[in-house]
Every structure is written in structure tokens, then in C-alpha cells.
């Protein structure tokens, strides 16, 4: 164990001892294990940690990160739901302070941090500073031993997605480190095949898709002469690669396989583990049983509370006591309706209620309430009510239970209340208050520590308790005598004291310890989970194949879904399920739907924790995709698909499923759940490509607005909706534009901004009507802008843009493409002030739509306008705005062209060092092959050379520009380059050459629109310089 010391200053910690000169408080040495189950040791003794899972998760997060966090950030991380997250955080910190010490846990009004000081934290020690290849073998082995399980094992919190993402990333990092260490150990032990094999097998378990790990196992098994196992390994590798990566094993794996003599495979022999059979006996619990009997007994003397509530730690016997209660009710001819919440089903609103109500026959449902119940139980015949609300639904459920109880004594059992969703808890409150104490009995159970983390369920229970409607039974551990009775029933001499000591009176734990002792196991580390893990390890191969899938599916699972997801053959599936049932890992589901339940959620957790993160992800992904293939007209499975797809890393499937699940929540009036689903869905939508992202973000925001929850930051929501709608416009997603304006309308109506709401609704109507018109405008504008940017067919560009502008104005649609195109045409005609105004307008619209590219084009053209007007200082000002925008464009010409224009502007301003920057910019433009931009810059430089009386340099640059402009068909730049060559030639004394050059472009002057105004002026200026008469013809016509 790794230990070090530091001295927390808590008032009650440590003892006084003398050191020379003064008394000091001696503090315990503190060690924290975060790999595997979280443990804290004071002076090597384990400290009892808070039961609250979130508090332990907070401990793990603070210690692992060991830096300062704002309280706000921690609240968002773990307590996004409760009404007072800061209070929940304060409570948790109070619990952690004595564990981590005053010096370890440092808090102020806004910040919380963990300072490790001299405390020993395993993940900090594991963090390797050296390459495994240069680490001594003993150190590597010690590091390898530090990996006792997953990081923060058992502290997954799928509903706190920010924390969960951090957790998964940390696990990934540690896993990668572990893989490197094992790979190095395998190579170090290549001369000791048995040891290398152990490490190689571990590597396969860590990453089943790592083909090289399978190959190592095969090679080592082959070298040990265990050919059958080697070939089994090959089969397993081949199946995994085929199923997950759609490929076959590589050459190296095939080579190893061929080197091993193939022998036919025999089925692996099944080993039967020693287990206890038959239902667990009810031992002790006499006072509680008497209370139950009194509660069930009607009439005088019986208890009058509407609801019985059993709490206690996992495995203490809550479900067993509920079963005893059910037997009492059945003995009186009563019926039992059972529903249970599951941790993964926090997103299946009313899940426990739906399961319970389905036990009532369809023909027993009174016709009057059928329409209202159909939203919850879609299998009921007849139409659903048109305008129901939540109260109507609650009334209908209460009415159904009342009518069932009129016929016979009815016990409604709701198990694991700590995992109830908000809607289920609200319905429980309603039903319990509405129930007339008589033939309807309600019994609930919950894990006491975790109930406090579910604010809604906890509030409901405490509210009913204050109204004296609850008979609360708190189950304590069994006494030694009771444990003696428990083990005596097992029929063999089991040392009860040992069982009592190991299990601390927890009956489930006691039974597992007894079973282990019966099997002869004596070396388990003492946790309930280690006993369960050992039991799972002893299962036969078919059961072991089925178990991970079942554990990933949840406590309650459908074998058909399992078969679909896992692709396991029916024969193996049946045999695996039978074996799991025989060994009391699972049992047939209570709802009678043909499904199975794990005998206890602790068992499922043990099975789940045996898997590494990549394996879990793979399983969840396959489950999500299998569920998505199931015919599900009422979206009842959407929440589960979203859950598994999120854990499996398929963001597109997850985001779509969150939308579907959110819409279903709205249909059944589960607003809080819908809002929760939206937050989770947005996390996934943001990872998608633009069209998918915009559509899904809008759909999720729509659900949020309709959920009826308090909107925390309405300004941000308004901004997000506007941004998305404009993005949808930019992308030409007509239907999404309509949706965006529609949601904005609904949102503003809810906020009481009726005038704005009306405007948005009108815009939605316009957008809907003009969907085709918008597309037409966009096409016209795009075609016009393209031509204008290239400087080709300017009359056509102008006509297209004019038409686009008129149509856009008619439907009140704005597109940056239109003013951009018009600005480019005006630029062509040398109307610089008009072009500046148009380009500024386009820039504004592009910014609104976060259209970086069009923004860049506008700014580049504005820089060009300044340069062409001989204003390099103003051009430099524009460049400063352009610079950061162009940097966002990634690889492209915008950044290099902007830098070239900036360097030329600096050169024209006479700034030192500009010449060097110009050459460097030219070199970059050449390397990225952007001929048109390069030609433009070379012309500017050649003109500057002429002004600076460097005609030869001007000539060389202009000649290069001629070649470049020709290659890309830039007419105006070609003409200017030729005119500049002519002037340079004349300046060098070659008048004949100048005239020859000019003649090639003189004829182009006859068409007023063919060349830009600047090109025409350049030709005219050169012609007069070399003495050529310019033919009279049309003057530059700037109108368009």
C-alpha cells in the first residue's frame, strides 16, 4: 500500500505528541485509492466513506484533479437537477472535510480545491513520467499491480453527463497507460511464455479489438503446445474483427494460425460452480413482520397509514420483506401490482408505474378513463383524449387503482424509489394522497443513502411522512444470532461467527460468504462484490458469454433484445440463460413479460464492473443499434436507445433518440424529464456535422421550450435560437428555418413578449410559404456572386443579382450573398464608395450567420478598394480586422492572401522589413497554387516598382502576372498586367515591345463591361505613355 503523511488541522483528528520545543497535533497519514473502488486510509486503516454516490464521486473528482474548481462548476458537474445545487455541494463538502482533512480540502466562498500535500494518491503515483521502455521491470510490475479495477469503480453517474464524460476520459487515459505497461511486460517476459501469456490475456480483455494482443496470445499458446486454445483464440479474434470492424484478421495473425497445427475444436467443458439453491429464507425481522401484518389487517387495531416505506442498505432484505408482505396480501386473496425503477431508466418516465399497471387486465380498465390512460398504456383500445393534461392522467391512474381495489385487496409494490424519475415520484404523491385507506395498499422501498440524492422522490416521501401517511420501516443489519439462523438453514456446518464478521450482518452478503465457504474459497478480500465476482467467474462458458450483455442491458432485460444485439445463437442463449437462472444470477421477470431480472442490482453491478470501458462501449453500441431496429411506434424504447447510444459513443443515434424520447415525455406530461433529455441530447448534437447539428439542436430546443420547466437563461436561449435559425438560412435548410422561427414565436409567447412572438410566428409562416422562393433567391445570388468574383460575364452577374435582390425583398429574406455580389460588380465598375457600402452590409450579414468565408471575401475586397485608391494606411487598418477572421479559415488561400495584402500595404507605407515579408508572402502564394491572387499582388508590386523607377523589376513581376492571369482566365488582371509590362518596357527604352504588348489588349476596350474600370484605365494610361491613340468607344458604364 502506498502511504505518505501530511497534517490536516481538524480539531478532533490526531493526538498530541511532543517534539523538541513545542507541542504539535499529530495527524494521521492519508492514502487515497481511486483505481478500483474508492478507498481512503488514515494511518493505514480504512475510513468509512459517505454512502452518497455523488459525494464519493465528488471526492474522486477533487482528489484526481487536485486543482481549484469554482463551486458553480462543481454544481454543474454533479447537481444540475436539484433546486438548490449549492446546498447539495455544501452538504457533500461537510462530509468530505473530516476524510480529506482541513489542509487537504481547501474551500472559500467561490472555490473548492484539494491539496494533496504529502498524502498518497494512487493515480498521482501511477502517472508515469518515464517511457515504459526505460522503466525497470520491478517498477513496471508494481505499477501493473496498482490497476485493481476501473478508475472510480462503481461511481458512474450517467445522469450527470459532464462528470460522466470526464470519468470516461480518465478511464481511457489510465487504460492506455495500462496497455503500454502490459505490452512492455509481454516483451520483457518473452522468454517466460507462461508469464507473457498472463499479460497477453489481460491485454485482450482490456481491448478485445486489438488484433496484436490476440496474436500474442495465439503465439504464446502455440509455443506452449496448447494448440486448441490458440485456435479458439483465433476464432474469437476473427469473430470480433468481423462483427465490429467488418474485416478479417491480418497477415501476421494468419501466419501464426498457419504455424499452429489445426485440430478440430471441441466444445469447452462446462464447470458447475457450487451455489445455494432455493429462495433466501426470511430470518429475523420479527418486529417489522408484525408491523406489516398489522398494516395489512383491515378494521380496528390495524395501522392506518396509506403507504409503507422500507429503507436500508443494498442487500439488507428490503425486497425480501416486500415479498413477505406480498405473501400476506395473497393469503387474503389480494393481488399484487409490482413496479421497479432502474438506475439506467431515469429517462423512462413512469417506467415503474407502467410495469405495475400492466398487471391489471385490459378489460378491467373502466371505459371512461381509457382515453386518458392510453398515453401511458398505448396497448389499450380506443382513441387517446384530445386535450389531456397531467392532472387528468394522474386522476385516471388513481381511478384505475381505485377500481381495481374495489374488486379485491390490491397491493401496489414500488421498489427502488431512489431511482424514480420526477414524473413517477409526482404520481406517487398524487396517488398516495388520493387513495382512500381501504383495499388499496402501497408499499415502497429505497436505499436510504441514495434516496437523499433524488430530490423529487425524497421530497415526496418526506411530505407524505409529515402528513402521517407513511409507516416507515428502517432495516438494520442482522444480529449474530439471526446470522446463525440464516446459515443453519443451509444445512451444513458453516462458521456463523466468521460469516457474521465478514458480512457485518448484511443477509445478501452473509449468503454469499456462506456459499464461498461451502465451495472451499477462503481467500477473498472481504467485499460483497468480490464474492459475487468470484461466483460469476465460476460460471460455464455459455453463461459467461451471456452475462456481459445482460449486465449492460440493465437489471431487467429482454432475451430477444439480448439475442439481437449480441448475435448469440439461440442454443447458446437458452443454455446460458438456464445456467444463470440455475446459479441464481438472474430470475424470470416479475412483470410476466418474458424478460429476466438480475436477482439483485448488486449482482448486475458486479457483472458490469468486470468489463473494461472499451468492452462496455462496444456492448452498449450494439444494444443501441439492436434496439433501434425494433418496431416501436410509440417510442417507448427511445430513452433506452439514447442511453445505450450515448454510452456506446454513437452521437447521431443518441441525439435522434433523445429527440424521440423527449417528444414522448411531452406526450405523457413528464416535462422535467424532457428538459433533462434535451440537455443530454445537446451534448451529442453539438458533435455532428452542420445540417444534422442544426436540425437536432432546433428539435431539442423545441422540446425544451414546450417542456414547461423554468427557463434558467432565457437570453441565451433566445440567442441560440436566433443563431440556429440564421445558420439554417445560410445552409438553405428551409424546413429548419420555419422550425426556428416557430420555436422563437412559442418561446416569446411563453415569456410574455407577445408582440415579438407574433412577429416570429409571421416569419415562420412567410418562411414556410417562401421555402421554394428562398431556394430560388439563394441560387440566383450564388450564381451571380460566383461570376462577379471571377470578373466574368458581368452583365449576367448583374442581372442575376438584381433579380435575386428583388425576389429577396418581396419575401423579406436576407442573404449576404446578394450585397456581396453587388459589391463585387460595383468594384468591377470602379464605384468604390458604393462597393464599400455593399460589402460592409454583406460583412454584417455574414457575421450574423457566422459565415467566416464570406466575411473574409468582403474584408479582402475592402482592403483591395483601399489599395486601389492609393490609401495603404486605411488598407492596413482593414487588414487588422481581416487577420483574425482569415486565421479561422484553416488551410486555404484566405490567410496567405490577407498576409500578402498586408505586406504590400506595409511596403507602400514605407514600413521597415516589409520587403522581406512581401517576398515571403509571394513564396507562400506560389506554394499553395493560387494563381489569381498571386497575379493581383504581383501587379500591385509592379506598379509600385514603376513608381519607384525600378522598371526591370516591374517588368519581371508583370510578366509573371500575365502568365498567371492567363492560366486562370482573369481578364481584367491579364489586361492590367499586359499594360504594366508595356509601361515597364517603355521605361526600359523598348517602345516597340511596349506597343506590341499593348495591341493584344486594345481591342478589349470596345466592350464597356468586358474589363474592369481599373483595367481600362491602366490600358489607356499605358497607351498614352507609348503614344498609341485610344480608339473612341463606349465609356465605362457603371450602371447595372
Amino acid at each position: 500500500m502506498l502511504h505518505a503523511t501530511f497534517a490536516p488541522t481538524g480539531p478532533h483528528q490526531g493526538k498530541l505528541c511532543f517534539t523538541p520545543g513545542r507541542y504539535v497535533v499529530s495527524q494521521p497519514s492519508i492514502a487515497v485509492r481511486l483505481v478500483g473502488e474508492v478507498q481512503v486510509f488514515h494511518d493505514e486503516k480504512p475510513v468509512t466513506l459517505p454512502r452518497s454516490k455523488k459525494t464519493r464521486a465528488l471526492l474522486g473528482y477533487l482528489v484526481a484533479t487536485a486543482r481549484s474548481h469554482t463551486r458553480q462548476r462543481l454544481c454543474e458537474l454533479l447537481w444540475d437537477g436539484p433546486s438548490d445545487p449549492r446546498a447539495a455541494l455544501r452538504w457533500s463538502l461537510t462530509k468530505l472535510r473530516p476524510i480529506l482533512g482541513e489542509r487537504g480540502l481547501v474551500t472559500d466562498r467561490d472555490h473548492v480545491s484539494y491539496v494533496s500535500g504529502e498524502a498518497n494518491v494512487d493515480v498521482h503515483s501511477i502517472g508515469m513520467k518515464e517511457d515504459p521502455a526505460h522503466t525497470p521491470t520491478e517498477t513496471l510490475q508494481a505499477l501493473h499491480e496498482s490497476f485493481r479495477g476501473e478508475f472510480l469503480d462503481g461511481l458512474d453517474l450517467p445522469s450527470s453527463f459532464r462528470y460522466q464524460q470526464w470519468l470516461v476520459a480518465q478511464r481511457e487515459e489510465l487504460r492506455s497507460m495500462r496497455v503500454h505497461i502490459i505490452q512492455e511486460l509481454i516483451s520483457r517476459f518473452s522468454e517466460h511464455p507462461e508469464t507473457a501469456l498472463r499479460y497477453a490475456r489481460e491485454l485482450v480483455l482490456l481491448d478485445p479489438m486489438a488484433e496484436e494482443a490476440h496474436a500474442v496470445v495465439m503465439r504464446v499458446l502455440g509455443s506452449l503446445g496448447r494448440t486448441e486454445e490458440a485456435l479458439q483464440q483465433y476464432e474469437s479474434c476473427r469473430n470480433i474483427l468481423k462483427a465490429e470492424l467488418q474485416r478479417t484478421p491480418g497477415e501476421e495473425t494468419e501466419r501464426i494460425r498457419r504455424s499452429i497445427f489445426p485440430t478440430p475444436l471441441k466444445p469447452a467443458s462446462s464447470r458447475v460452480a457450487g451455489t445455494l439453491h432455493g429462495p433466501a429464507p426470511l430470518v429475523g425481522r420479527i418486529p417489522e413482520t408484525l408491523e406489516l401484518a398489522s398494516w395489512v389487517e383491515p378494521g380496528a387495531g390495524g395501522r392506518s397509514e396509506e403507504l409503507i416505506f422500507i429503507t436500508g442498505e443494498p442487500g439488507i432484505g428490503k425486497t425480501r420483506l416486500l415479498a413477505e408482505l406480498a405473501l400476506m396480501v395473497q393469503a387474503r386473496g389480494g393481488r399484487i401490482l409490482t413496479g421497479r425503477a432502474f438506475e439506467a431508466e431515469m429517462i423512462r418516465p413512469y417506467g415503474p408505474w407502467i410495469d405495475a399497471l400492466r398487471s391489471i387486465g385490459r378489460d378491467e380498465v373502466p371505459a371512461a378513463i381509457r382515453p386518458d390512460l392510453r398515453r401511458l398504456l398505448p396497448e389499450l383500445d380506443g382513441p387517446a383524449s384530445d386535450h389531456p393534461d397531467r392532472n387528468q392522467l394522474f386522476d385516471a391512474v388513481s381511478g384505475l387503482l381505485g377500481s381495481a381495489a374495489e374488486r379485491s385487496l390490491t397491493l401496489l409494490v414500488l421498489d427502488d424509489l431512489q431511482w424514480f424519475d420526477e414524473a413517477s415520484a409526482a404520481l406517487l404523491h398524487f396517488v398516495a394522497r388520493d387513495a382512500k385507506r381501504g383495499k388499496l395498499l402501497i408499499a415502497c422501498s429505497a436505499r436510504s443513502a441514495e434516496l437523499s440524492e433524488n430530490s423529487m422522490a425524497s421530497t415526496v416521501v418526506h411530505a407524505l411522512n409529515r402528513e402521517n401517511r407513511v409507516l416507515w420501516l428502517r432495516l438494520l443489519p442482522l444480529t449474530l444470532d439471526e446470522v446463525r439462523m440464516l446459515v443453519a438453514d443451509l444445512g451444513k456446518a458453516i462458521p456463523a461467527e466468521r460469516v457474521y464478521e465478514d458480512s457485518q450482518g448484511n443477509p445478501l452478503f452473509a449468503l454469499e460468504v456462506s456459499a464461498a465457504l461451502l465451495r472451499g474459497s477462503d481467500s477473498l478480500d472481504g467485499s460483497l462484490e468480490s464474492f459475487l465476482t468470484e461466483r460469476l467467474r465460476r460460471l460455464g462458458p455459455q453463461a459467461r458469454e451471456v452475462t456481459p450483455w445482460a449486465a449492460a442491458l440493465g437489471r431487467n432485460f429482454d432475451p430477444e433484445i439480448l439475442s439481437l444485439a449480441a448475435g448469440i445463437s439461440p442454443a447458446i442463449l437458452i443454455s446460458g440463460l438456464e445456467e444463470l437462472e440455475r446459479h441464481e444470477v438472474i430470475r424470470a421477470g416479475s412483470s410476466g413479460s418474458g424478460g429476466y431480472d438480475f436477482v439483485h442490482d448488486v449482482m448486475r453491478q458486479a457483472a458490469y464492473r468486470q468489463m473494461t470501458e472499451p468492452v462496455r462501449r462496444l456492448l452498449h453500441l450494439n444494444i443501441a443499434r439492436a434496439l433501434a431496429r425494433v418496431d416501436d411506434p410509440v417510442s417507448a424504447l427511445a430513452g433506452e436507445i439514447a442511453h445505450h447510444a450515448a454510452l456506446g459513443g454513437d452521437s447521431l443515434l443518441a441525439a435522434n433518440a433523445y429527440v424521440e424520447a423527449g417528444e414522448r415525455c411531452l406526450r405523457i406530461f413528464a416535462g422535467a424529464e424532457a428538459a433533462e433529455l434535451v440537455q443530454r441530447g445537446l451534448e451529442h448534437a453539438l458533435r455532428l456535422s452542420s445540417a444534422n447539428r442544426i436540425s437536432l439542436e432546433l428539435k431539442l430546443h423545441h422540446i425544451y421550450v414546450l417542456a414547461g420547466v423554468v427557463i434558467r437563461d432565457s437570453e441565451k436561449l433566445n440567442r441560440d435560437l436566433m443563431r440556429l435559425t440564421l445558420e439554417a438560412e445560410s445552409e438553405g435548410l428551409g424546413a429548419e428555418v420555419v422550425r426556428g422561427y416557430h420555436i422563437l414565436g412559442v418561446f416569446h409567447e411563453r415569456e410574455g413578449n407577445f408582440e415579438q412572438a407574433a412577429q416570429f410566428i409571421m416569419k415562420a409562416a412567410d418562411a414556410s410559404r417562401d421555402g421554394d422562393a428562398v431556394s430560388a433567391v439563394r441560387q440566383l445570388a450564388n450564381a451571380g456572386r460566383c461570376l462577379a468574383l471571377l470578373g466574368r460575364d458581368i452583365p449576367r452577374a448583374s442581372a442575376l443579382l438584381t433579380e435575386a435582390k428583388q425576389k429577396a425583398e418581396a419575401i423579406r429574406f436576407q442573404d449576404p450573398e446578394i450585397p456581396l455580389g453587388i459589391g463585387l460588380v460595383q468594384f468591377h465598375f470602379g464605384q468604390y464608395s458604393e462597393a464599400t457600402a455593399s460589402l460592409e452590409e454583406a460583412l454584417h450579414l455574414a457575421r450574423e450567420r457566422q459565415d467566416t468565408w464570406r466575411g473574409c471575401i468582403c474584408l479582402i475586397r475592402l482592403v483591395m478598394i483601399e489599395l486601389e485608391q492609393g490609401r495603404p494606411e486605411e488598407a492596413l487598418d482593414r487588414c487588422r480586422v481581416l487577420h483574425p477572421l482569415a486565421a479561422k479559415m484553416g488551410e486555404g488561400s484566405e490567410g496567405p492572401f490577407a498576409q500578402a495584402l498586408e505586406a504590400v500595404s506595409e511596403l507602400l507605407c514605407g514600413i521597415d522589413g516589409a520587403a522581406g515579408r512581401v517576398e515571403s508572402a509571394l513564396s507562400t502564394l506560389r506554394s499553395i497554387d493560387t494563381k489569381g491572387d498571386l497575379a493581383y499582388v504581383l501587379i500591385l508590386l509592379a506598379e509600385a516598382d514603376l513608381a519607384g523607377e525600378r522598371p526591370q523589376q516591374a517588368h519581371a513581376r508583370a510578366e509573371e502576372a500575365v502568365r498567371l492571369a492567363t492560366a486562370v482566365g482573369r481578364r481584367s488582371d491579364f489586361a492590367i498586367a499586359v499594360a504594366t509590362v508595356a509601361r515597364a518596357s517603355a521605361a526600359c527604352g523598348d517602345s516597340e515591345g511596349a506597343r506590341c504588348a499593348l495591341k493584344t489588349v486594345m481591342s478589349d476596350l470596345s466592350d464597356a463591361t468586358y474589363l474592369s474600370k481599373r483595367a481600362r484605365e491602366s490600358i489607356t494610361r499605358s497607351a498614352s505613355a507609348v503614344g498609341i491613340r485610344v480608339p473612341s468607344g463606349p465609356t465605362v458604364d457603371a450602371s447595372h
Binding site: 452521437s651 455532428l688 456535422s689 450564388n782 460566383c786 486555404g892 492560366a967
Partner: protein, 85 residues
């Protein structure tokens, strides 16, 4: 005319419908800028694509992509080396 290579990658596998939509957006822009698509290679996991074009320069292809609103990772001019027949 130069040979141009465009490299693109996708966060989600590129499905056929998205591919068709992108192609429909890009084709008119390529035509306007004088670029011609020659062929594409889509990775089997559909997360990466390399496209080959013929165009006056790399910028014409970049402008086509930008105009169509399609992201790319890099565009470069290439010399073709091929086995002689």
C-alpha cells in the same frame, strides 16, 4: 490544367444521402469555377475521403468548396505518377 487533390474527413460515417446532397451542392460551383471532378476514394469506414479534380489552379477548387459551404481539410496540386502501360 493541374491535378488537384482534396482531403476531407467526417466525424460521422458519410451516408449516401449526405454524399449525394454534398455532390449536388458542389457540382454547380465546380462548373462555375472551371474545375472538373475526376474521381474520389471513400475510406471503408466512411470517415475520410480523397477527391481528385482537374482545374486551372488549387484556388478554383477551394473556391468551389467554400462557395458550396463544404468543409475540407486541405487542397493541394499534384503530379501524377502512374505505371506505364
Amino acid at each position: 490544367m493541374a491535378n488537384l487533390i482534396v482531403e476531407t474527413s467526417y466525424s460521422q460515417p458519410l451516408d449516401d444521402a449526405t454524399h449525394d446532397r454534398l455532390a449536388a451542392q458542389l457540382d454547380p460551383c465546380l462548373e462555375a469555377y472551371g474545375a472538373r471532378w475526376l474521381r474520389s476514394y471513400l475510406s471503408t469506414d466512411r470517415l475520410r475521403m480523397v477527391c481528385e479534380f482537374e482545374a486551372p489552379d488549387a484556388e478554383m477548387v477551394r473556391m468551389s468548396y467554400r462557395s458550396a459551404g463544404i468543409d475540407f481539410e486541405r487542397v493541394w496540386t499534384a503530379e501524377v505518377y502512374a505505371r506505364s502501360a
